[in-house]
Amino acid sequence: MLVNKRLLQMTSGHRGPLFGVTALLCATTASYWLQAWFLAQALAALVLMAREPAAHDDGMYGPLVPYLVGVLACGVGRLVLQQLHARLASSLGSGVRLHVRRSLAHRLLQPERLRDTSERSGARRLALSEGVDGVDTYISQYIPHAFQLQIVVPALLLWIAWLNPLLALALALAVAVAVGAPKLWSKVLAKRGQHHWDSYEALSADFLEALQGMRTLKILHAVPRTRARLNNRSQQLHRATVSTMRTSLVDTALADFGIQAGLLAAAAMAAIAAMGQGPLAGPGSAGMTYFLLMLSSEVFRPVRDLARQWHAGYLGLSALGSIDAAGGADDGKPTPRWEGQQADSGLEKVHELATIHKAPTSPDDANALDRPETLTLDRVSFRYSDADPWVLHQASARIRRGGLTALAGVSGAGKSTLFDLLLGFLPVGENRIRLDGRPLRPSDVSVVSQRSYLFPGTIRENLRVVAPAASEAHFWSVLDAAGLGEELRQWPEGLDTVLSEGGGSVSGGQLQRLAIARALLVDRPVLLLDEPTSALNAELAGLVLAGLRRVSSQRIVLMIAHRPEALAAADTVLRLSEGQLLTTRQPEAATL
C-alpha cells in the first residue's frame, strides 16, 4: 500500500534480489531486538544492584559484562548484515537500471521521434540519465524499506500484544498516525511531484538547447534574454521543489510525532505496569519492563527508516513521469516498424530484435555478394495523416543499378519523405517497395542524410562503428571515393583526427564527405544520398560524383539533387511532382 504500482511492476524479473534485500533489512532490524534484550538485561542487573548493593561478590561490573558483550556482538553482527545488504541492494539497483535504461533507449530509438515537434532532447536526456537513476533508488531503497515496514511492524506489534495488549494498542495507534496520515494527502503530493519534475525537465531541456545553440544565441545577442528565461525557469523549479518538499516533510514530522508520542506513552505504561497498578499489568521483572520499553521503541525503527527514504521515494515518483513522457519503460504498444521485424517490449524481445539486427555490415552478408538489379516502387501512396494532403499518390518507378539516379523536385515536394519511406522510417503498404522482387529491408539501405551526424570521437571510430570488420585499406578506399582521402592524408593526425560534438571541428564540406565515406563503407545494395554535394565547390562536387558513379556499378545509387551539376551528372532523373514520379533518361549524362 505504500508503494507505487507502476514502479513495483518494474521489479518483475528482479524479484529474487528484491526479496533478498528486504529479508536482509528485516534481519538487521531483528538484530536490534536482540540488542534490546541484552541491554534490558544489563539494566535489570543494574536495578538489582541498586536494590541490593553488595549482593554480588564478583565486583561491580561482574553481572553486567556478559550482557554488554552481547550488545557489542549485536553491533558487529549487524555490520556484516549491512555489508551484505549494501551489496545486494547495489546489484538489484544495477539490474533495474540496465533494464529500464535499455527499454527506454529502445523506445527513443524509433523513427517516430524524428518527426515529433514536441520532442526535446534535454528532457529525454534527463529521463535516460537522472530519471533512470531515480527509479533505481526507489526500487533498491524505498521499496525494500516499505516492505520491511509492512512485515516487521505487525509482527513486532503481535509480539508486544502477547506480552502487554494495552501497550500494543497504544503503539499501533501511534504507528497508524505516523504511517497512515500522510496517505490523506498523497494525491496532492503526487501531483506536486509531477509538477516539480515538469519544471525540472523544462529547465533541463532549455539548458541543453541553449548549450547546443550558444553560438547562435551570442550572434543574436540573445544570451541575456536566455539567461533571464533560464532564471525564470530556475525560480519556478525552486518554487515547485519547495512546495513539494514542504508537504513531504510534513510526513516526516508526523512520523516523528507518532514515534515520540508512542514512546512517551510506552514509558508511562511501563512505569504503571512496573508498579503493578495497571489494568493489565505485564510481567513484573525489571528486565521485562525494560525489554518491553525498548521493543516499543523498535516498533518505530522501520517507520523512521522509511521516512529517511523520502528523498528516494519522491525522486522515484517524479522520475516515473519523465520516463512515461519519454515513452514509458515497459508497457505501451510498440509500433511495428517493418515486416518480419516487429519491435516488442521487454528485455527478452529486445535481445531477440538485436539478433535479427546483428551485424548487417559483416562481409559475409548475403546482400553484399549478389549485385542488386532493380529497386521497384509500385503504386506507393503516403500521407502523414488523414487530414494532410498526399505526399505520394500511386507513385511508381524503377531504379536500376549502373548509373546515377537523381531525385528532383521543388522544395517541399516530398523528396525527403520518399527517402524516409525507403529507409523504413515511415510505414508503407505491404510489398509496395521491392528489391529484386522481394520487399526492401532497412538493412538493404545505406544513407547520407542532409544533416549528417558524426559521433564525437576520432574519424576512425566513426567509420569503425558502422563496419567493425573493415580493414584500414577499406577505410582509405571509401575516403578516396568520397573525395576526402587526399586531403585527410595531409592532416597530422589522419584517421585519428578527433571530431568534436556534431562534427564542429571540421568544415562543412569535410563533414559532408566524411558522411559519404561512412555510407560507402557499409556494404549495402542501395545507397541513398540527400544532396551529397551541397557543401562542396564545383571541383570537389565533380570528384564526389565521379566516385559515386564508380560505386553505381555495384549498387543502386539514388541521390536527391537540385544543383545543376548534380542533375547533369545523373543518368536518370526522377522528378517528384504532385505525388507522382516521372522518369527521364539522360543519355548525355555528364561524365565527370
Partner: protein, 554 residues
C-alpha cells in the same frame, strides 16, 4: 575575473561563498536544530527517569515531568518540520543561483575551440551535479555548527559529575573521528568515479538523441545499447563500492555509539554518589547528545562523494572565455550601412595549424562582397572573426561609417555591435517553439506581420496547410520539421528582422535549389544600399550576384 579565481584544494570549500546572503537563515537553522536536539534529550531523560523511578522505587514521577515530556513531543515534531523546511529552502535557493552562475560560465566558454567539450557533459553538470550539492547546502554547515555547540555544552554540563562520564563521551567522539577520517579520501575517489561515469551516460544519451537518424539508418541500435549498458555498468561498479563503503562507515559509527553507551554505562556505575534512579536517564541523555555528532560525522562522510560534483560546478562557473578578448564600451551606431576594414587578420586553433593565414580586405558601406575559397581555407573562421565570435591572434577589424569614421570592432559595446553586425551560419540552429518565439530570439519586440514580411523577403512565405498556424506554427527542436533549404531561409529571415548594418552569410545557399537560391539572391539585392552584405560561398551562381569577389587563401 575568472582567470584569477583559484579553486581551493577541497572544492567543497569553494562552495561556501555562495552561501553569503543566506547567513541569517543559516544561523536560524542552527538555532532551531539545537532546540530540536534539546527537545529530544529532554524526551530521552524524561522517559528513562520516569521508568527507572517506577522500577527501582515503585514511585510515580511528578506531573511536571509528564508536562515536560508532552511539550517536548509536540516541540520536537514542529521543530523537525521547520528545520528541514528552512534548510532545504535555503539549499534550493542557492542551487537556483548556482545554475545561473553556471549558465554565465557556459555563455563565456561554449562552444569551446578545442574538441572534447560536450553539451551532454555540461548539461549533466547543470542538472545532476548541481542537484547533488543540495546535500551540501541543506545538511552541512548549520547542522555541524549546531552539533558542535550542543556537544561542547553537554560535556561542560556533565563535568560536575566527575571525569569518567565526560571522558567516556569524549572517548566516543574520538572513536568516531578515528573511524571516519581515514576513509574520507576513499569516499571522494569513489564518488568521483561514479559521477564521471554518470556524465559519460549523459554524453551517450545526448549522442543517442542527436544521432537517432544515423543509428536507425545504419542499424546501430544494438551498438548504442551496448555502449549505454557498458557505461551503466561502470556507474554500477563504482556505486557498489561506494555504497558498501558508506554502509561500512555507518556500521562503524554505530559501533562507536554502542561502545560509548557501554562506556558511559560503566563510567556512571563507577561514579560515586550517583543515584541509581538517574543512571538510565544519564545514559539515555548522553546517547542523545552523541547522536547529532554522529550524524554530523555521517554528513561529512557522505559529503565526500560530492566533491567531484562540486569540482565540476566550480569549473563550469569559472569556464574561461573562448572569445579571447572582452568587448569594449564605445557607443558607435551611425546611420546607414557600415564598411569593414580588415588588416592582416590571423587565426590559429589550439592544435597549431593556422586556420586563417594573414588576410586583409576592405568592404565599402553598402557593398555586396563575395568570398570564395577551397574547402578548409578558413572561410568560416573569417566569418566568425568578423562577427567577433573569436578574437584574432593578430591583425585588426574596423567598422567604418559612411562618413568615413572608423572604429575598432572590438571597442564597440556588445549590444550595439550585435544589433549592427550579424551572421547566418551554415547550420544555425532553430529553437524549440513557434515561428514567432524563434524570431523573438533575435528581436523580442517583433510582431506577427513583421515576422511574416521578413520570411517573405527571405523566400519562405508561410503558405499552405503546413503553416496553417501562421507565426504560431510550432517548429521542432533543431528545426526538425524544416528541410535544409527551409532552415537556411528561416535563419536568414531571423537575421533580416534585425535590420543589420552588416550581414555575413556563411554558405547560406548551400542547400537551396536554384529557384530558392534565386529568391534569396534577389532578397539580398533588395537590401542593397541599406546593408553591407558579405557572402561566403563556393557557389558560382550565388557569387555571381555580388558587386565584387575575393578568393581566400591564394
Amino acid at each position: 575575473m575568472s582567470a584569477t579565481a583559484r579553486t581551493p584544494r577541497n572544492p567543497l570549500l569553494g562552495l561556501i561563498p555562495y552561501m553569503s546572503g543566506e547567513w541569517a537563515a543559516m544561523v536560524w537553522t542552527a538555532a532551531v536544530g539545537i532546540l530540536n536536539n534539546l527537545a529530544l534529550i529532554v524526551l530521552a531523560v524524561t522517559g528513562s527517569y520516569v521508568v527507572a523511578l517506577a522500577v527501582i522505587r515503585q514511585e510515580t514521577a511528578a506531573p511536571a515531568w509528564w508536562i515536560l515530556g508532552i511539550t517536548a513531543v509536540i516541540l520536537r515534531a514542529v521543530l523537525t518540520w521547520h528545520e528541514m523546511d528552512i534548510s532545504h529552502s535555503i539549499a534550493y535557493r542557492i542551487l537556483a543561483a548556482l545554475r545561473i552562475a553556471l549558465f554565465n560560465g557556459f555563455a563565456r566558454g561554449v562552444p569551446s575551440r578545442k574538441p572534447g567539450q560536450h553539451t551532454g557533459k555540461l548539461a549533466a553538470t547543470a542538472m545532476g551535479d548541481v542537484e547533488k550539492l543540495e546535500f551540501f547546502y541543506a545538511h552541512t554547515v548549520a547542522q555541524l555548527v549546531g552539533a558542535a555547540v550542543l556537544f561542547i555544552a553537554g560535556v561542560a554540563v556533565l563535568r560536575p559529575l566527575g571525569p569518567e562520564i565526560g571522558g567516556a563521551l569524549l572517548l566516543g567522539f574520538a572513536a568516531l573521528m578515528a573511524v571516519t577520517l581515514p576513509g574520507l579520501r576513499r569516499g571522494a575517489v569513489l564518488g568521483a568515479r561514479v559521477q564521471e561515469a554518470r556524465t559519460a551516460v549523459s554524453v551517450l544519451a545526448v549522442d543517442l538523441l542527436a544521432g537517432t537518424r544515423e543509428i536507425l539508418g545504419f542499424g546501430l541500435q544494438e551498438h548504442a545499447q551496448r555502449q549505454l549498458a557498458e557505461q551503466s555498468l561502470v556507474v554500477d561498479a563504482g556505486q557498489r563500492k561506494l555504497s558498501s563503503f558508506l554502509a561500512l562507515a555507518a556500521s562503524l559509527r554505530e559501533l562507536c555509539v554502542v561502545g560509548t553507551v557501554v562506556a558511559v554505562f560503566l563510567a556512571a556505575i563507577s561514579t560515586p554518589g550517583l543515584d541509581a534512579v538517574w543512571l538510565p536517564a544519564l545514559v539515555a541523555g548522553t546517547l542523545t547528545l552523541l547522536a547529532p555528532i554522529s550524524e554530523g560525522v555521517a554528513t561529512v562522510t557522505q559529503l565526500q562523494p560530492h566533491r567531484a560534483s562540486a569540482h565540476r560546478v566550480s569549473e563550469g562557473i569559472n569556464l574561461p572565455s573562448n572569445t579571447g578578448r572582452a568587448p569594449g564600451t564605445t557607443e558607435f551606431e551611425p546611420d546607414g550601412p557600415l564598411g569593414i576594414e580588415v588588416k592582416n587578420l590571423q587565426f590559429t586553433y589550439d592544435d597549431g595549424e593556422p586556420a586563417l593565414r594573414s588576410t586583409s580586405l576592405s568592404v565599402a558601406p553598402g557593398e555586396h562582397l563575395g568570398i570564395s575559397g577551397r574547402s578548409g581555407a578558413g572561410k568560416t573562421t573569417l566569418a566568425r572573426l568578423l562577427v567577433r565570435l573569436w578574437a584574432p591572434d593578430s591583425g585588426s577589424i574596423s567598422l567604418v561609417s559612411r562618413e568615413g569614421r572608423a572604429v575598432d570592432a572590438w571597442a564597440v559595446n556588445e549590444a550595439s555591435f550585435r544589433r549592427m553586425v550579424t551572421l547566418v551560419e551554415q547550420d544555425s540552429p532553430v529553437f524549440h517553439g513557434s515561428v514567432l518565439e524563434n524570431m523573438h530570439f533575435a528581436c523580442p519586440a517583433a510582431t506577427g506581420p513583421e515576422v511574416l514580411e521578413a520570411l517573405q523577403r527571405a523566400g519562405l512565405p508561410l503558405v499552405g496547410d503546413r503553416w496553417a498556424g501562421g507565426v504560431d506554427t510550432v517548429i521542432g527542436e533543431q528545426g526538425m520539421s524544416l528541410s535544409g533549404g527551409e532552415m537556411a531561409r528561416f535563419c536568414l529571415a531571423r537575421a533580416l528582422l534585425m535590420r543589420p548594418k552588416v550581414l555575413v552569410l556563411d554558405e547560406t545557399t548551400a542547400s537551396l535549389d536554384p529557384a530558392s537560391e534565386n529568391a534569396l539572391v534577389e532578397a539580398l539585392a533588395g537590401i542593397a544600399g541599406e546593408t553591407t552584405v558579405i557572402t561566403v560561398s563556393h557557389r558560382e551562381s550565388t557569387l555571381a550576384a555580388c558587386d565584387r569577389r575575393v578568393h581566400l587563401g591564394e
